[in-house]
């Protein structure tokens, strides 16, 4: 049945290598986790952390090689097969990759579209062609396969199985029954809905507000011209701090920056607040204040507060995977008919995910959680 047992077993070995990779290097949960025996393949309690440029392309690379070897095991490498097989798998994998780019929702297109993946597949095809190319003229005289339909079915089955490994599991029944614990100690099903912050709303929100009580010569003109007033009511979620020439900047995690006049350290005076959802860090250089918030970098000229520039999309989209409770998965809660919930992927066009909602209707925002 097997035209070339050598290639078949090599393909299996590559497949096993791929499984080992997923078990120990991939951080997102995948379909294979459903298999109890899968746990044996994990050598470390947590996945090794590979640089992204490495971990993104290895599955694509191995998949083309593995499937080519596997198929060659059944079909043999005679004639033009030694390059037809790898090219076929390259095309199949390309179709899947392009489907991911289309942003279609659902099981098959959940991974992220990456140019690196495409290159990896092409490289995999190249390597496969080299591997499959017959060494001697004797090998090229192999005859046609005898059990083509079964061979094709098996190859497709294994290939699909490996391919599915790169996507998050869609087990609708588990979503309806698995229980997760939420930050307020409540327990309900693990399906959650993302709460988006609309891009336009986010970028249109007013930024600087000032204390009228503590207005100084710099801030008073802004107040006179109708700038927002905000008085101090304690620090909310204090995070990183930055000290700059008598100014004390305190980040309110994911919400903004408190501005204090700190020339008298025994009595820091609240000057105002920079309202910017997503604020993570601040730094000042040559009089320019830089604030990072999700994808944007805001710059304010401290020597002329009218100069405010928002540089959008300087940083990559922040996926909330690390901020949601263990075991929770994004799904469509509303359309849950007969306790079946459809998995959803994050729709970047709707904005940044700033929190989530569970089945009980409770909403949790990331800025309330310890980060």
């Amino acid at each position: 049945m097997l035209q070339s047992p050598r290639h078949f077993w090599l393909g299996m070995a590559v497949g096993l290598l791929g499984l080992l990779f997923y078990a120990n290097f991939r951080q997102t949960e995948i379909l294979f986790d459903l298999i109890p025996a899968y746990g044996w393949l994990k050598f470390t309690p947590e996945p090794f952390v590979l640089p992204i440029w490495l971990s993104e392309w290895i599955p694509s690379f191995l998949h083309v090689i593995g499937m080519s070897l596997f198929s060659a095991g059944f079909f043999g490498t005679s004639g033009k097969r030694y390059w037809q097989i790898p090219i076929s798998w390259l095309l199949i994998d390309l179709v899947f990759e392009v489907m991911q780019a289309g942003g279609a929702q659902g099981l098959l297109s959940h991974g992220h579209f990456e140019w690196v993946d495409l290159l990896a597949m092409v490289a995999g095809a190249g390597v496969s062609i080299r591997l499959l190319k017959p060494l001697t003229s004797v090998e090229s005289e192999e005859s046609a396969p005898r059990h083509a339909p079964m061979a094709a079915a098996t190859a497709l089955g294994v290939g699909a199985f490996m391919m599915l490994g790169s996507y998050v599991q869609e087990d609708t029944t588990a979503l309806a029954t698995d229980q997760c614990t939420y930050p307020d100690e409540s327990v309900t099903i693990c399906a959650i809905e993302p709460i988006y912050l609309d891009w336009e709303l986010w970028r249109a929100a007013p930024l600087l507000s000032f204390s009228a009580e503590n207005a100084n010569q710099t801030t008073q003109p802004f107040i006179d011209q109708g700038a927002e007033i905000s008085e101090y009511h304690g620090l909310e979620n204090p995070g990183r701090i930055y000290s700059y020439q008598g100014l004390l900047l305190i980040v309110s995690q994911l919400k903004g920056v408190y501005l204090f006049d700190n020339r008298d350290r025994a009595n820091p005076t609240y000057l105002g607040f920079l309202n910017l959802l997503g604020t993570a860090d601040v730094a000042v250089s040559e009089g320019y204040l830089y604030v990072t918030a999700f994808t944007d970098v805001l710059v304010i000229n401290l020597n002329d507060l009218t100069q405010v520039e928002r540089n959008s999309d300087l940083l990559p989209y922040p996926y909330p995977d690390l901020w949601i409770p263990e075991g929770t998965l994004f799904a469509n809660l509303i359309d849950g008919v007969d306790d079946e919930y459809e998995r959803t992927s994050i729709d970047q066009s709707r904005g940044v995910v700033i929190g989530y909602r569970n089945k009980l209707g409770d909403e949790f925002f990331f800025w309330d959680l310890a980060l």
């Binding site: 100084n216 620090l235 860090d281 730094a283 710059v299 990559p316």
Partner: protein, 291 residues
């Protein structure tokens, strides 16, 4: 009574002085940079802005037009946690598996069009989270297991001599082509301390190291030579220096600390406290409590 009057007068004068400063500063000119905590994931170096995104990848921007940072490069190191600007000459990146040292472009480099930080080397340690600072060619970094209640192998503080990294100039492609051989710099671990259950942010001032511990709050250390140890004849794994703890009279919670000549600024979930460093120890100046 006289003393009291004098005190009040002095206080008033000081406040007037402060007001005076304020009015003369109304044409406030802010220049230079400030001080960040060791947990910062963003830092500016001479003319450049470096940011660690949510995935831990580093992005470098050019600040020639200060209001509009322009992208120069990004580096996909997984899980970079903190950034530290060492004397505008090197960038230290604290990450889960160690500390990365990058050489920032000098004037000469920029003239030659080399504007991107060059990788110099890395210091490996056990996998944990860590901020890093450096003073006088010595890097201080902490690693922790994430659990303030437990002291494990991962809860460590270390001091490493990084002079080889700082002096190292990566070979140019031409030099490599001519047969020059890369000799990667090495870190020399000087001291190690493993009794703090959750060492976190750190600051350094006047040869005193301030470490924030998740369980014990602010702690104070100096790094001193171990008496009787011959620096030139160290056995394998032997350290030449040690962390010496100087207990504080009070406990101040902190996750990170900024240490400057004016004093300490601590931040924690409980708020932002400012301490004065005096001959009699640390005294609290002000506290901004969290809600």
């Amino acid at each position: 009574m006289n003393k009291f009057k004098a005190l009040v007068s002095v206080t008033l004068l000081l406040q007037l002085g402060a007001c005076g400063d304020g009015s003369s500063n109304s044409g406030n000119t802010y220049t230079g940079t400030g001080s960040a905590g060791s947990l910062a994931a963003m830092t500016t170096t001479s003319g450049q802005l470096h940011i660690l995104d949510a995935n831990g990848n580093a992005h470098t921007f050019d600040l020639t037009t200060p209001m509009q940072p322009t992208r120069l490069n990004n580096y996909a190191w997984a899980n970079g946690q903190t950034l530290f600007n060492y004397r505008d000459s090197h960038l230290l990146i604290g990450r889960e598996t160690g500390v990365l040292v990058y050489r920032l472009p000098t004037e000469v480099d920029r003239d030659l069009g080399r504007v991107v930080p060059q990788f110099t080397g890395r210091i490996d340690h056990i996998r944990a989270y860590d901020p890093v600072i450096a003073v006088d060619n010595i890097a201080y970094f902490t690693t922790r297991d994430g659990d303030p209640e437990q002291l494990t192998r991962q809860d460590q503080m270390s001091a490493a001599d990084i002079s080889e990294y700082i002096e190292y100039v990566p070979l140019t492609q031409q030099e490599l082509n001519n047969g020059a051989v890369e000799v990667p710099p090495e870190a020399r671990l000087l001291a190690n301390y493993s009794e703090l259950p959750e060492p976190y942010g750190l600051g350094y001032l006047n040869e005193v190291l301030y470490i924030c511990d998740g369980h014990e709050g602010l702690t104070q250390f100096t790094v001193e030579p171990i008496p009787g140890v011959d620096q030139d004849q160290l056995a394998e794994g032997e350290f030449s220096m040690q962390f010496v703890r100087h207990p504080l009279s009070e406990q101040w919670p902190c996750s990170d600390v900024i240490a400057t000549e004016e004093g300490l600024i601590l931040t924690s979930a409980e708020g932002v406290a400012q301490l004065q460093i005096g001959p009699e120890g640390l005294q609290i100046l002000s506290l901004l409590p969290a809600r």
